[in-house]
Symmetry: C2
């Protein structure tokens, strides 16, 4: 590829109403599509999460735990279909702004093993980028060699794409300002960490260990652990608040923006 692409992840809690099943945040989707169009970054690949589209159905049918009985198969498909409908909203909003967004279904070309990506048939994705399209992927219900099926997060896909495509930059758009030294939702003295090294991420992970039930960073540690592979390969990785106007725009342009930058 001539130019190294930017990989942009849009969190499920950004593009959906977290607490209302199957409810998109159309205002956020529209604004983000506009920011992406205005930033004119090319090539770019977009991955989005499921939020209130994926989780409720996946939970009802216990998809994340893998195949236990035949009745789950309908739920597996329904989880995927819900994600497809959310993907169509994102793609349509981008198309409306004349961006050649192109929905690609992870479950049609990615296979996991115990929930981790094992087979990634990326030829079509690479070719889509070369053709000038903007692939738009999503967290999906996928087949799994070990447990029959699994839930593959958009975070894992975005991190893998950043590595595989040797991305220029990986931007994680979330619903908070970044990583905190304690949970900002319960601790008013929590401070935003603007820079974090791989070593500090490991320390943070160890500190939490088995003792604490909840993730003190405000649920961000799982996300950060996905980012370790791209960061270790020298890919510029930043977590920004995608609910705040122009944060994603600035991250796309490589401008200064509030958030957490993770470094090797």
């Amino acid at each position: 590829m001539k130019d190294r692409p930017v990989v942009l992840k849009l969190g499920g809690s950004v593009i959906t109403e977290k607490d209302r099943p199957l409810t998109p945040n159309l205002q956020a989707i529209g604004r983000l599509a506009e920011e992406i169009a205005r930033a004119k970054v090319s090539p770019i690949v977009i991955v989005h999460g499921g939020g209130s589209y994926g989780h409720p159905i996946a939970k009802t049918y216990r998809i994340a735990g893998g195949f236990k009985d035949q009745a789950q198969l309908v739920g597996f498909s329904k989880t995927h279909e819900a994600m497809v409908s959310l993907n169509r909203l994102v793609v349509e909003n981008l198309l409306d702004r004349r961006l050649p967004a192109f929905g690609m279904a992870p479950s049609s070309f990615i296979l996991t093993s115990k929930g981790r990506i094992q087979v990634f048939q990326g030829e079509l994705l690479t070719r889509a980028i070369k053709t000038g399209l903007i692939p738009v992927l999503y967290g999906d219900a996928v087949l799994d060699t070990d447990q029959g099926f699994a839930i593959l997060s958009g975070d894992q896909i975005a991190a893998l794409l950043a590595v595989k495509l040797k991305a220029e930059r990986l931007i994680m758009g979330v619903d908070v300002d970044g990583l905190y030294d304690s949970n900002p939702k319960t601790d008013s003295s929590a401070r935003l960490i603007s820079r974090l090294t791989l070593e500090e991420v490991s320390e943070l992970a160890n500190k939490i260990g088995g003792a604490e039930v909840s993730d003190v960073t405000g649920g961000m540690l799982g996300k950060v652990s996905e980012l370790m592979a791209p960061v270790a390969r020298g890919i510029e990785t930043v977590i920004v608040n995608a609910l705040k106007p122009d944060y994603v725009y600035r991250a796309l342009k490589g401008e200064k923006v509030v958030g957490t930058r993770i470094e090797a």
Copy 2:
């Protein structure tokens, strides 16, 4: 695979209102889902066409002719998105009857060259069948090594799947009773051909040759030529009228049914 699957193609002119853009034939989709559920054939793979979903948008943006300018990329994606929305209707109707239908996006794992399938990453599809799912594919706007992109027909996909999966039977559900010796829509003396050998198909193709502008068989010759590969490999191949109740059901059960059987 333990059992050889049945491949069922549902024509775009069956599941959509041919003359009304983006209008599904919900009555036909519902009835066919019921017939498929009642037939209890397993494993089974379903492929459907585009009808009035795919063709109008593809035509507007001249997708079938390949990449000429950047503006077509939006049309390429819109063609795909229209097919996804039709696929979702088919899948939902099957799920409603407790069938574990699973939509798979051809453009995410099939690459063509001059409109003919060149790369077919079928690992996920095979695994989906083994898991107990019913893959539901569709004619799609796909990337093409030679012309940038192309329209890949459901007929071509169905024929390839029949060969690759060593299908027990390939059923082509169309909007007429089968292949005629002349066009039944303009010639009242046209007679249905109930059996046809590969040799006779070739003769028919030669007879039409370059002299005649239209396809005297009623537009079925292109379809029949796709079927030559599976037929040559000994796969039982039959064309039936999917608009007539229980024709597809009987074909699925291997029962006697009005139609055209093509033999080696």
